[in-house]
Subunit: 273 residues, 4 copies
């Protein structure tokens, strides 16, 4: 059973929590905690050896500061909707992990603004909805919301979804949208990061998985990775090389999020790995 806690820091919090668990005969299998001393915030993730009957959560809340967020076994079977455009590599990685049950979540459906990834979804028996972008962002997003509304979901995953979503849309899913951006953010935010990277002559290419907020490419970062580049790579070579890490970075971020290891505050994440 997983327990996650986020609250104002206090002297003796760890003693209280671990004392309660010992008292209630839970054996701690793993425990990760972090205190942001500047912000006076306490974060903890525990794995214990048996399921709770509900009493534990109540007792924990009594022990902890008023502002405590406590989640016990938060949604062990997460549900996700994946949004794509044309590039296959992140989607395929997700579909494979979903198929072999190593994603840590269940893919409910895939929505594409192009049609070309429909076939791969069909091969895995995942519903694919084609919503082409036609003229208006408002009309497009209304259709997106309609389809999304048909499915239960915990997260939306933008797996190389190349359209910018409006503030209104994003505000409907606060900290529930995960994006893979093909650069080492905050370098090269916005469109065409590989073109920008090529022109700047960087010696490393990056990828960043982050939560989406109203500020484009400015949400809390979950995972980042880089690979070497050099003068001999054109913008298109960089794009090709980048794909290999984009899928890996997104996979890692999803694993962390679905495994309840990611806490968010102040536009940052704490990832208790």
């Amino acid at each position: 059973m997983v327990i996650v806690i986020q609250c104002t820091d206090q002297v003796g919090l760890i003693a209280k929590i671990s004392g309660l668990l010992a008292e209630e005969k839970f054996n701690i299998l793993s425990m990760h905690e972090y205190v942001d001393q500047a912000e006076d915030l306490f974060f903890m993730r525990l794995e214990v050896d048996k399921q709770s009957n509900g009493i534990l959560e109540r007792k924990l809340r009594e022990l902890l500061p008023q502002d405590a967020i406590v989640k016990i076994n938060p949604n062990p079977e997460k549900k996700v909707i994946v949004l794509v455009t044309k590039e296959y590599h992140c989607l395929a990685d997700i579909l494979i992990r979903n198929y072999f049950k190593t994603l840590g979540a269940h893919v409910q459906c895939v929505i594409g603004n192009h049609i070309n990834l429909e076939d791969i979804c069909k091969r895995f028996d995942i519903p694919f909805h084609h919503i082409p972008f036609e003229n208006s962002s408002a009309g497009f997003e209304a259709q997106l919301l309609d389809v999304i509304g048909e499915y239960e979901h915990d997260y939306l995953v933008l797996a190389k979804f190349m359209r910018i979503l409006s503030s209104y849309f994003v505000s409907r899913f606060p900290l529930k949208i995960i994006n893979i951006h093909h650069s080492f953010l905050p370098a090269f935010a916005g469109a065409n990061p590989y073109r920008q990277a090529y022109e700047r002559g960087v010696k490393l290419i990056g990828a960043t998985a982050h939560f989406v907020t109203n500020e484009l490419d400015e949400g809390p970062i979950i995972a980042q990775q880089i690979i070497s580049s050099d003068h001999s790579l054109t913008a298109s070579d960089m794009m090709k090389a980048g794909k290999e890490i984009e899928a890996a970075v997104l996979a890692k971020a999803l694993r962390m999020v679905f495994d309840d290891r990611v806490f968010i505050y102040k536009n940052k994440t704490v990832v208790l790995e």
Copy 2:
């Protein structure tokens, strides 16, 4: 103040320890713990906000299992003796950190079986002892022991010391000798690892910092790192490239050891970073 604990695991250990600290009004600044469930062993490193008057150590020992090893502020000013041969890069890195007081230990003296690193030691006012190897290992080691005996020391650091030490010698300093080996151990143990790596055609070159035990290059590993290689590197190019990471890996291992973050058991280390 740093507290390190190693003992048999028990339910409620964290609760007991953190409870005691809260009771005694210590605020925990950082806490890292690890349980090896296969071996049933508990490891912990704490930093707390004030110095103890000795009572804490006694109370901790009462709380913990009989086999507990508890160290409070273990030797905050470690003393080390560095052994070298001809290569300068690891020694120079240590001397620089020693001079700027970022080594986490004090270099007492340097012993070289060649004379060529004497001058750099003199420039930093560090005593240098030249003990050439002449015929017999026994005679050589007797002289080493004599010089080592002149200085207080917590650790011996083999900073590219290219002579093999006897079991007898090693047994005099159990888990107190730290070596940098120029390969990704256990690949390429023994002499000439770069020659071996070149002949095997590996695509990565490694370096390993480890404690020295009687088995050559078989002691507990503290830190490892690699860099890319390819067909175009000769054994001598690899050696040159390797130097850059050898110094970095040794520096990291020393930082971890001097900072009391390294626990040893079963020929392995737990490094609570």
Copy 3:
């Protein structure tokens, strides 16, 4: 058009080759060469801007030393057979790239000694042959050879195929079998490398793609990669973490091989990237 050349080194080889190409009005798009000076061997890979009518190859052979191996557009559409056991990650990566035509080769069929990867192959319309291992290695390999014989193929890819192949079998496909080994070879050759790595307490986990020769895990290395590990990973955690790089390393090695960038000599590879 791709041209690859391997021969004894001579003064003026580059001048001769590039002179001939200029004379014949080929524009060089990319050129990579390497001279192993110890072995006196010359390797070159060229991309030029138009197709040859056969005359070029003849003229090249006239120019070059007698022992020259010259290949012009070697098999632009490679065909491969993939052998698997139970683990899906490397196979799935290959099937996805095959499906999206970014593998650089065509997967003819998959052979598994277990049945559980049949479904994923079917989903991609790739023939799957189940050949269970029953008692005798000879009988097993005879069946393998029968199935392999049914398909044209340039390479056999062992994508986590967990049975050891006999010398006889291997000798039938000299330097045509590519394996992914789940360690940083030559460390942890043989069975259970993650168990070995766990027991040795290494701080890095590796994966190695190599050609298979008669010596188990001793063939020429094509690509290697590592990720960080630490004390907190069990052998099974290491295995899970390792999968992420196994698929990446194998993918890279296949890309290099299928793209005619890999030369073999003296149990080593030259990879002209």
Copy 4:
């Protein structure tokens, strides 16, 4: 002997150059070339086995396009002036390499706007000039120029020099000033990059060595590297961790520049390693 060439691309350039070298009985030890096809530019670095008597340079110029820049053995003993503020790690690394003659250049003097690195320079018999910043940038730079004027020099190295130099100053040393910036540029240009990185919650910390141009932190990048970070690092921890790679990245960039491997065009570098 090293030969570097930069010119407009032409069909047959490699043939011409290598033909001439063969004719003149030079044996090519290593050859690296790169063509930027978008810009139609050709770059080459050669090492040959004997010294030229001057005829080769003349003949090369006759062969090559009018705009060709040809350098033969460009300044085999480079001279550098190092500018520092308070941080020692990059300077110490340079002084050590200078002392052991592995820097590829000779350090003429060190100029510091603080006094605290004087002693380390003295220990290596390197002149140290203390020029404190007092009120006016103009006055400060005038003094810098005076001291710099006293020494022959090929490059100025800003080894954690924390003052911004004026356009006027920079224009006096076009593409002759090398800086180490403590972030993965273009992310976190300007002051306090670690503070910025901390606030943005990045999961990687970078360092960038680049030529200085009039645009602050916008000059051609020579080398970059990153290390992992996470939520647990404060801005000051990041600074400490960053130092380890800053020295490494600057060392690599200097090695490439001093070894005549770096070509500059369009605010980018070509590094022929």
